[in-house]
């Protein structure tokens, strides 16, 4: 235990002695951890946004006015049998006209027109999907010989009106940002690893006399290597604290403005609920990068 404490002390002392190199390595590590956490925030916020958008995707299937209750149930069963249905709402003709009136309450001409022609709106099923990408399975049902004659000829099945393209674009954009975050994280983790590797390599070189003395007075390999691992681990610990504080400030500062575009509320709420988990995650990543890089440098340059 006393040896471990001495190794930690020596590592901390080395960190202070190499102030400039340590600062540079810590700064790069901070940038890396910031990118990782921003990538995590973007991923979480965009996934939440995508979910919110896809939740709103409904497929409307319009029914003939002459349809019987049994035929209506048959359509429902066939749709449910696709396995991609999260929920089906039946909208009767009366409900359809009520919704139309509510939607057009500020347009008296539209309301007048529908009242004059009588209720021409068909009853329909509003189908919520489990997986937006498997839309075809639901649409295919509407073309089955047993089902097709029961549907309204004038109104084919439609996907939440004209927003489909916009929704697809949002999803594509979000997926691109998520991938970009992942790639940037990998690039910066590699850069950090290389910089810490080089910092420890230089430290080994500048302390070669000290290492020789340690060997001569009977220091174990662990006692000689330990301070280098501690030194690199310190880069990770300090960087994790700074990166968490920066990202937290950034998220809380820009969150209200971003919430008009993407769903950051759940991410902010997660940050507020589990700050210890966030910092722990950052510490684990920071310590891992530091320790891994220093072990790599020692295996190459510190022959004992």
């Amino acid at each position: 235990m006393i040896q471990l404490w001495r190794v930690i002390q020596q590592g901390a002392r080395n960190f202070m002695r190499n102030a400039w190199l340590s600062t540079a390595a810590t700064a790069v590590m901070t940038v890396t951890l910031c990118i990782i956490i921003i990538s995590f925030i973007s991923n979480s916020a965009l996934t939440s946004t995508i979910k919110g958008v896809t939740d709103k995707i409904d497929v409307s299937i319009y029914l003939k006015d002459t349809i019987t209750t049994e035929q209506r149930d048959l359509i429902r069963h066939r749709l449910e049998a696709t396995g991609n249905v999260r929920g089906i709402d039946y909208i009767s003709k009366d409900e359809a006209i009520a919704r139309f009136k509510e939607k057009n309450k500020n347009d008296p001409l539209q309301i007048q027109a529908i009242e004059e022609t009588g209720n021409t709106l068909p009853a329909s099923y509003s189908v919520k999907l489990k997986d937006r990408n498997k839309l075809d399975s639901v649409l295919k049902t509407t073309t089955e010989p047993a089902i097709r004659p029961l549907l309204d000829d004038k109104n084919p099945a439609s996907i939440t009106g004209t927003r489909k393209d916009a929704i697809n674009n949002i999803i594509k954009g979000s997926n691109f940002v998520i991938k970009l975050g992942l790639i940037a994280s990998i690039i910066f983790v590699t850069i950090s690893t290389l910089i810490i590797f080089n910092t420890i390599r230089m430290a080994i070189f500048t302390r070669r006399d000290e290492i020789e003395i340690m060997k001569l007075v009977g220091a174990t390999k662990w006692f000689i290597r330990g301070p280098f691992i501690i030194e690199a681990t310190l880069y990770g610990i300090i960087a994790a604290i700074v990166a968490t504080a920066l990202s937290y400030t950034l998220l809380l500062g820009t969150g209200p403005r971003l919430s008009s575009y993407i769903d950051v509320e759940s991410t902010i709420s997660f940050f507020r609920s589990y700050p210890a988990l966030i910092i722990l995650g950052e510490l684990v990543v920071g310590i891992f990068i530091g320790a891994f890089s220093s072990l790599l440098a020692m295996s190459r340059y510190l022959k004992l």
């Binding site: 006393i2 001495r6 003395i213 009977g218 220091a219």
Partner: protein
């Protein structure tokens, strides 16, 4: 205390440093090893401190058979032997007291034990007043005293002094030799290598002369002679 039985050391470049060397040093002896550069003195010391491994033969130091030790045991071997070098090998950014304490720290001694032992050792080498000084604030002789204090702090049975006076003026050199004699009187086996003829001749102790990896002369009260015994 130290036994070399037909020890041979051949380096990877096929250079033969020691060739069937036999050496037996008793406990509490003060032995001086002399020889020209490349004679094998440094290799002899490196084998004792396990910086190098022997090619053949048997080495027993302090009861420890070097054929049976593993790389993991090497630090433990080094803790049982005190070594002093010509270039002192002190940590420049640590104070005198910290340099001496360092040898105890690596062996896991407790802080209280270190605080008690360091002043005593500095007193023994005559550096009580320099505990807080850095090595670059000391003279060559004082630095060598710090190195001796560090070598002795773990109370080893054997002290190897490899050219300890090489960088010192005659006055300081003699002070170091007197210190080594004092340590020897306390019961530590001292093995000294030197090129200093005056010191060897004045010591009137056992002198072993090595040439081309072999012992060519071993005298109880020897004198410094060049190879060939002249």
């Amino acid at each position: 205390m130290i036994l070399f039985d037909r020890v041979t050391k051949v380096y990877p470049n096929q250079q033969v440093a020691l060739s069937g060397l036999n050496l037996h040093i008793q406990p509490k002896e003060f032995v001086t090893i002399v020889g020209s550069s490349g004679a094998g003195k440094s290799t002899l010391i490196k084998l004792m401190t396990r910086e190098e491994s022997h090619t053949s033969g048997k080495i027993i130091v302090g009861g420890l058979d070097y054929d049976t030790i593993t790389p993991r045991d090497v630090p433990l071997v080094r803790r049982r032997i005190g070594v002093v070098f010509q270039d002192f090998k002190l940590l420049p950014n640590r104070r005198v007291g910290e340099n001496v304490a360092f040898a105890l720290e690596v062996s896991g001694a407790r802080g209280r034990e270190i605080k008690r032992a360091v002043p005593k050792m500095l007193q023994l080498v005559g550096l009580s007043s320099k505990e807080q000084a850095f090595p670059n604030e000391l003279s060559g002789g004082e630095r060598q005293r710090v190195a001796i204090a560090r070598a002795l702090i773990r109370q080893p049975k054997i002290l190897i002094a490899d050219e300890p006076t090489g960088n010192l003026d005659p006055k300081n050199a003699w002070e170091i030799i007197e210190l080594l004699l004092k340590i020897n009187r306390f019961g530590t086996t001292v093995l000294l290598t030197t090129h200093n003829k005056e010191i060897v001749n004045a010591l009137k102790r056992r002198v072993i002369t090595i040439n081309r990896g072999r012992i060519i002369k071993d005298e109880e009260q020897g004198r410094y002679t060049l190879e060939g015994g002249k």
